[in-house]
């Protein structure tokens, strides 16, 4: 029995060895297990710093552990029945205090240099405000007056394993941030509700987005491409579902995109003027609801009480149109409900309110009053 157990512990050790060998076959690409070098000067500096510190640690570890394992094999009770009695040595103590100190200085010098580089807060050629929301990002191009939200575009069915997962599972959005290559872009990062953190590994940028504060970061991407990152500060339920996607494009392409975005804004204004039927509004509203509201209020409108109240059967949604509009526009102080005034266009705002007032039997059980875009325009006018 005992022998068996001893054998077991040996085979456990072999299993560990096997495990450490197994991956090199399966995942031949070891680079996938290391930090990314990225596509900026800063990200490459950071990568080199990371490797430098790593190798220094490996070297120190090799020295310390070989002395230790040598002692463990050479000075066992069997091989060395009579232990030495030496102890205390001021010389040695001083040596192993001073030498590590010098090694640390060797690390601190390049680290401080790179950090100073990163902390250059000169203005960018393009300045973009990044705002974290539960659970999406807003990008505002300060020079061009463009702004939009960037939501996770992975299907809920992929998350709940009903359909196969796509290649960029959880790392894809409906509208990525677009910046031109070889251009100094400065980010002004803040948040609307709780603390988020905006991370793009390939730029080596990770800055917390904090309500009431504006943090800055900058980059100069040297290669076009799509770079994916995440929110890296726990921000509630869907913290894991608000990726960052940045598309770096040629400068011409960027300028075209800016023009297209501006035209889009004009078209949206035209839509606001249009006469909307109940059916059109409800249909559009359902899409808006799925993108912006389901995370909390759920597809069936039941919410997740008590933090995220139900909309199905809610007195406000069924009977109080004015309060309904006010909540969407202003948010609810002291609760998770944020203001959507800047997130949704007048059309989308009216559509989503109309949808919630029509869906889940709310129209049948309530007053059935619906909201049109001009109501929102009216609400936004300064009150005298």
């Amino acid at each position: 029995m005992f022998k068996k157990i001893n054998n077991l512990s040996k085979s456990a050790f072999t299993a560990l060895l096997m495990l450490s060998l197994y991956p090199s076959k399966v995942l031949s690409d070891w680079d996938a297990l290391n930090m990314r070098e990225g596509v900026t000067q800063v990200s490459r500096d950071v990568f080199e710093l990371h490797m430098l510190i790593f190798y220094i640690c490996v070297a120190i570890g090799a020295v310390v552990f070989s002395v230790m394992f040598y002692s463990l094999f050479r000075y066992t009770k069997k091989r060395n029945p009579n232990p030495s009695t030496f102890h205390e040595s001021t010389k040695l103590e001083v040596a192993w205090t001073i030498i590590p100190f010098l090694v640390l200085i060797a690390m601190a010098v390049p680290a401080s240099k790179t950090l100073t580089e990163i902390y250059d807060d000169e203005e960018g050629e393009i300045n973009i405000q990044v705002v974290g929301y539960q659970w999406k990002w807003e990008y505002k191009y300060l020079e061009d007056d463009i702004n939009f939200f960037s939501n996770l575009s992975t299907d809920q069915d992929e998350i709940y394993n009903l359909v196969p997962k796509g290649e960029n599972y959880l790392l894809e959005v409906d509208e990525p941030l677009i910046i031109p290559v070889d251009t100094r872009v400065r980010f002004l990062i803040t948040a609307n509700d709780v603390i988020h953190s905006w991370w793009v590994p390939d730029f080596a940028i990770k800055q917390d987005a904090i309500p009431g504060f504006i943090n800055t970061a900058w980059t100069r991407a040297e290669e076009t491409g799509i770079y994916r990152g995440n929110c890296t500060e726990l921000c509630g339920k869907n913290h894991g579902f608000m990726p960052v996607v940045v598309k770096v494009v040629e400068k011409d392409e960027y300028n075209e995109w800016v023009l297209a975005k501006k035209e889009e804004a004009i078209k949206l204004a035209e839509l606001t003027e249009k006469e909307w039927s109940l059916g059109e509004l409800t249909e559009r509203g359902e899409g808006v609801y799925q993108k912006n509201c389901v995370a909390c209020h759920q597809m069936n409108g039941e919410g997740l009480p008590p933090i995220f109240p139900a909309l199905a059967g809610s007195d406000i949604v069924m009977f109080d149109k004015d309060r309904n509009v006010e909540i969407l526009m202003e948010g609810v102080q002291g609760a998770a409900m944020q203001s959507f005034a800047n997130q949704l266009s007048e059309v989308d705002m009216a559509a989503v309110i109309t949808y919630t007032r029509q869906a889940w039997g709310n129209a049948e059980n309530g007053d059935g009053v619906y909201v049109v875009p001009s109501d929102i325009v009216e609400y936004k006018k300064p009150k005298i």
Binding site: N80, E88, E158, L170, V194, F213, T216, L234, G236, G240
Partner: protein, 527 residues
Amino acid sequence: MSSVIESHHDDHHHGPAKGLMRWLLTTNHKDIGTLYLWFSFAMFLIGGAMAMVIRAELFQPGMQIVQPEFYNQMLTLHGLIMVFGAVMPAFVGLANWLIPMMVGAPDMALPRLNNLSFWLLPFAFGILLSSLFMEGGAPNFGWTFYAPLSTTYAPPSVTFFIFSVHIMGASSIMGSINVIVTIMNMRAPGMDLMKMPLFVWSWLITAYLLIAVMPVLAGAVTMMLMDIHFGTSFFNAAGGGDPVLFQHIFWFFGHPEVYIMILPAFGIISHIIETFARKQLFGYESMVWAMLSIAILSFVVWAHHMFTVGMPLAAELFFMWATMLIAVPTGVKVFNWVATMFKGSISFETPMLFAIAFVVLFTIGGFSGLMLSIVPADFQYHDTYFVVAHFHYVLVPGSIFSIMAAVYYWIPKWTGNMYDERMGRLHFWLSFVGVNVTFFPQHWIGLAGMPRRYPDYALQFADWNMVSTAGAFLFGASQILFLFIVLKTVLGGKKATPQVWEGARGLEWSVESPAPYHTFSTPPKVN
């Protein structure tokens, strides 16, 4: 009440009262130590079960077992329970059992306070765990409970969480006062400060750290309470408050807290290596000075947890350099342990196996800590699985291995029975493999870009998450074996001699095994 005590007076020299009342009313340091140790083991299993929920959900990409809200509750409670319920009370239990015996005192200096500080704990954790059944669920904002996620956006149970943290803090402060008073006043004649066993030294320093920072934690949660219920805006930017202030206060507590969970381990490991290498510790004085320096430095490095909040360059540089400096005294400790083994006469009983693993794996955790201190690199590591790997390396094969080592080392003294050596070794190897399979791959997935506190992840992290989960279940299951070994030892086994271990030094080995209910009623003489 006094008549009860009177009527039991005669029993005092024979042993404890019988039944449940023995444990409820006990003022005996050994009984209270036992209570603390069993309590912490129960919490270790509960917190561990939560870890299993987390790892099971992460076994594959996609949501399978729990919803994201519940996942966040699990990771929050896992952290809180392991830190405040498992590691800290286990060290207090060891302090209770060992400090009086090590300094030659008959008991702790304040026995009734001792009883109170233990019996507060079941209530604190009862309240915390009951929040799982409240409307809106348990706290879901991480064990670091950053505002405003933990204030404006928190579930209603946050108020119970705050109350529970207050009770834990009160318990810790009372326990620390007791440790300091005992060590300062009740040492046997001849035992100067610089002759104290290192475990006693490590706890003296730890107790001062606790008294310094527990009130800071209490302040932080009180400010949260005010923000939530009384209309203040300490941490609410909309009211002129500062969410970053919360993090400064929290980590001013939190960083010394990290050392509270490792300093007693340093003490334990020093004793065990000395015993099984059969050679005096290489540099006792430098070990004491190293612990003192680590404790003092722990007050000036807190913002290294916050490198990404947007501090000014000067602050980032200061906290980076100060943090790197901690590597020096930590290195001194590791070098001393290795120098103690060098030319010793080493045997590999279970406590020594755990101690050797501690030295290696804690050092690996130290290396990743050093890497994390490098601010530009930290911008990439921060809040990824690299950090998760780092702190689990210092807490699991660090703190928790030291606690297991301590249990195997001193259990013959506590119970009078030897534990089953072969089973102990099996437990060690299973835990060792489990811990490494769980946490080593997390370094890689962290570097490759997987953020922490994510219930779901991109496909490239799938393989290693699966390995990590397998390791976690192996580690979890082997702790059932640990429970079995401890129970078996309590119930019987080969009788232990007073000396127990050939190379052991210290007053606790001069009394019988099991240690009588009352030891050192007259102080021993120390040369």
